[in-house]
């Protein structure tokens, strides 16, 4: 017993055991995230795993002898908490995607900084080449992730325009930057003496690459990009783990890398686009061939809240197709009220959820869940599309590109081939819109010019509330 006890109390073994517990908890927690009923607990379990990993690391007593180190660590943890907690608490639901981009970016930044320090630290020392290789990978990918996420944040926050920003010879510039970054890495690994210069070369070239890669990507593709950057940060964290030979970092980083890749792929598929073509840039570029976009410039029919209320009240089935406009206007509660008012009149109401409606997959689900909309009313695209032909009225609330029939009918359209909500097959369509501005992808929507479509202009929340009042008054 005493021998066993000593073995167990030896710090190194304790830490190894704690690390295994930590990644076990993270994996278990993540598997909990696969179902709505286990998700909350899953997230908490994963967080507990993270806490175990951090505490176990801090318990490596022997290594933190200088009291200065303790204070520095404390400073980092306190600053991080002081920034992270209020940011996470106060962010509005509509701003979630930007927040995820930001949190992802700082993770990538941490990887890049750690790589930088590792480099300075091992200057001229006996650092195994392979550890060096992993660290260099981390430096490049972490830096790309940080700056790429910063651009994604700025675009979603509308600090930068959402439209693609393109330079002439973009692909060439990107290639040159990548070559500079990789060449600097190779120069470093083969033992060049001016190490400080080359590690900065790597970080700066990768930073520029991160900016250049994300800038030309239009807002509609931004969720895919955030997911991709998320996967990249995961991989770079795993690389750092390999360099430091730290099992928790390897496992946690790699799991994120794997899951992020799957999610990225699924999201790209939902838009019928491949990840490489998104990275190659430019969604809805201004010059995209306008073949057959004849309806453009036709007349639109506008309507009033009272008319809409009548149409809705006497329908048998109404489908609500929400989009980013509902998120911006914070109209989800008003929408829920309208749904209740209609149900009270015996109307069947369903919600049509396009996988990329809003700015992220699941964006609409989160908002509608906040407004207590029952789960079973939310229908995914494949389930709801066959129902549109049996639907009397479809109410499109601030959704545009995901309902655009050009994706089906106009081979020249930049979004041709993207699966859409086939709202144009329902009896009539009412679109709530702020103005005639085109969607985030910058593409005109022929749906608006169809004879069966009526537009109700105004703020989504106000419009929905007016309709509800009219419905209740009928």
């Amino acid at each position: 017993m005493s021998a066993l006890g000593t073995v167990f109390l030896q710090t190194a073994n304790f830490i190894d055991a704690a690390y295994i517990v930590a990644f076990g908890l993270m994996i278990y927690g993540m598997s909990g995230l696969t179902g709505p009923r286990t998700a909350v607990r899953g997230n908490q379990i994963a967080a507990a795993g993270m806490a175990v990993a951090v505490i176990a690391t801090l318990l490596r007593k022997g290594e933190f002898h200088g009291s200065g180190t303790v204070w520095l660590i404390l400073a980092g943890l306190v600053i991080g908490t002081a920034v992270g907690v209020p940011a996470a608490r106060n962010v509005k639901m509509t701003a979630m995607p930007q927040m995820v981009a930001l949190f992802n970016g700082v993770g990538g930044g941490a990887v890049a900084l750690i790589a930088w320090v590792e480099y300075r630290h091992h200057f001229g020392g006996d650092w195994p080449l392979r550890a060096e290789g992993f660290e260099l990978f981390g430096a490049i990918v972490g830096s790309i992730s940080f700056w790429g996420s910063a651009v994604a944040f700025a675009k979603l926050q509308e600090i930068l325009p959402g439209r693609p920003i393109k330079l002439a010879g973009q692909a060439l510039i990107n290639l040159v930057l990548l070559i500079v970054a990789v060449a600097s890495a190779v120069a470093l690994a083969s033992g060049t003496h001016s190490q400080g210069l080359f590690i900065l070369g790597i970080l700066v070239a990768s930073a520029a690459l991160g900016l250049m890669v994300v800038l030309p990507i239009g807002g509609a593709d931004m969720p895919v990009v955030i997911s991709l950057l998320n996967a990249c940060t995961g991989l770079s964290a795993a690389a750092t783990g390999l360099a430091l030979s730290n099992p928790v970092m390897i496992v946690a980083g790699m799991i994120v890398g794997a899951s992020g890749s799957i999610l990225t792929d699924q999201m790209a598929k939902a838009m019928n686009r491949s990840v490489p073509s998104i990275i190659a840039g430019g969604f809805g570029g201004a010059v995209a061939a306008p073949t057959g976009a004849t309806e453009t410039g036709g007349t639109v029919r506008s309507t009033s809240a009272a008319d809409v209320a009548i149409q809705l009240s006497y329908a048998r089935q109404v489908v609500i197709a929400p989009g980013y406009g509902m998120a911006v206007a914070q109209a989800q509660h008003a929408v829920r009220e309208l749904e209740r008012a209609l149900e009270a009149k015996g109307v069947t109401v369903k919600y049509a959820i396009h996988p990329v409606a809003g700015r992220m997959p699941g964006h609409m689900n989160v908002l509608l869940a906040e407004a207590d909309v029952p789960y079973d009313l939310l229908r995914e695209m494949d389930d709801i599309n066959p129902e549109f032909s049996r639907t009397d009225v479809t109410l499109v609330i601030g959704a545009n590109d995901v309902t655009n029939p050009a994706a089906k009918n106009e081979p020249g359209s930049p979004i041709y081939g993207m699966p859409i909500l086939e709202v144009d097959r329902s009896g009539s369509v009412i679109v709530l819109k702020r103005s005639m501005a085109s969607g985030f992808a910058g593409i005109d929507n022929p749906l608006f010019y169809e004879p069966k479509t009526a537009l109700l202009f105004g703020d989504a929340k106000t419009s929905v509330s007016e309709i509800t009042a009219e419905v209740q008054a009928l």
């Binding site: 967080a47 400073a75 941490a110 750690i114 590792e118 964290a237 899951s259």
Partner: protein
């Protein structure tokens, strides 16, 4: 065995675990999932902690404090935001599968 081989074996296995666990997530939970995995890669904070003990010179220390702060923001912010999103799913869960629990819902 070479420790590197073991590390890479762990890496490969973790990759498959990631695929296996994640491919089952319903669309509805994609946003929280992205946010949750995002929090998990904040594990890099460990790298900052481990290197802090070996660091020397002001520049290294400053860089590491920033790295630890970044990692902490990633972890804490990520988990909190995910929790906020998920609480909303939890609140409206009752009509789902289990038809038993009237848990203090005394109406």
């Amino acid at each position: 065995m070479d420790p590197l081989v073991i590390d890479i074996a762990v890496l490969v296995l973790a990759g498959f675990v990631g695929f296996a666990v994640i491919s089952k997530v319903p669309n509805t939970l994609h946003t929280p999932l992205m946010s949750g995995t995002n929090a998990i890669h904040g594990i890099v904070v460990l790298g900052g902690l481990l290197l802090m003990a070996e660091s020397s010179g002001i520049l290294e220390k400053v860089l590491l404090v920033i790295a630890v702060a970044f990692g902490t923001i990633n972890v804490i912010g990520g988990f909190l935001v995910t929790d906020r999103m998920l609480e909303m799913f939890k609140a409206k869960d009752p009509p789902k599968a289990d038809e038993t629990p009237p848990e203090g819902d005394g109406s």
